[in-house]
């Protein structure tokens, strides 16, 4: 089974802090994604990476950056956390040979106070 893990299930940070959310997949997938989930808005794409060191902005990249130095790991960085970044963050990965199906991690619920 494909496994996507995220470093924390719950995280509480203060406004202005730099925050790192880590995601690791164990299936050698080329593509990885970061989404943000908010009630009534569904999932919105923040960034995705189609290969090591390659990235593209999604729909809501402002206030976020990403890093992919190794194929299995994709990090989301909040340079200076703000209260409007309080949300559930979901990581996903996809194998190029699969039928576009994405495999999701359990999510990190981030609260910025």
């Amino acid at each position: 089974d494909v496994k996507v893990t995220q470093s924390s299930r719950y995280l509480v940070k203060r406004t202005g802090e730099k925050v790192f959310l880590e995601c690791v997949q164990d299936m050698d997938h080329e593509n990885m994604f970061w989404y943000r989930q908010d009630p009534g808005l569904g999932l919105r794409l923040i960034y995705f990476s189609y290969d090591v060191k390659m990235k593209e902005k999604g729909d809501i990249p402002e206030g976020y950056s990403v890093s992919r130095e190794k194929k299995e790991r994709f990090s989301l960085i909040l340079e200076s956390a703000s209260t409007n970044q309080t949300s559930m963050y979901l990581c996903a990965s996809r194998d190029l040979s699969s039928s576009y199906e994405q495999y999701f991690g359990p999510g990190t619920r981030l609260t910025v106070t």
């Binding site: 593509n31 009534g40 569904g42 794409l45 979901l90 359990p106």
Partner: protein, 114 residues
């Protein structure tokens, strides 16, 4: 650009009753369609997908969906729901050109009551 509309934010239903969760999409090109389920405090899990071929797609846990190109719809159905089906359901679309990520709808919360 593609988009997905889930017409119902919440659907309450009694146990053993049938249910339909509606999903409409807009895209100018051929699409691939998905339904995901999210149980409380968990990530998303794939229920079923339509890529091509038969328009009636069967998934896990007794769910099925029908792709209707003329109506641009991909509604999810189950003939008899269980308490354990209580969850949030997301419809998603990907076109065969351009953007590689999925576009998700806003979700439908299915609440199965005894």
């Amino acid at each position: 650009a593609q988009s997905v509309t889930q017409l119902d934010s919440q659907v309450p239903v009694f146990e053993e009753a049938p249910v339909e969760l509606r999903c409409n999409y807009s895209s100018s090109v051929s699409v691939y369609l998905f339904w995901y389920v999210q149980y409380p405090n968990q990530g998303l899990q794939l229920l079923l997908k339509y890529l091509s071929g038969s328009t009636l797609v069967k998934g896990i846990n007794g769910f099925e969906a029908e792709f209707n190109k003329s109506q641009t719809s991909f509604h999810l159905r189950k003939p008899s729901v269980h308490i354990s089906d209580t969850a949030e359901y997301f419809c998603a679309v990907r076109s065969d050109t351009g953007r590689r990520a999925l576009t998700f709808g806003s979700g439908t919360r299915l609440q199965v009551q005894p």
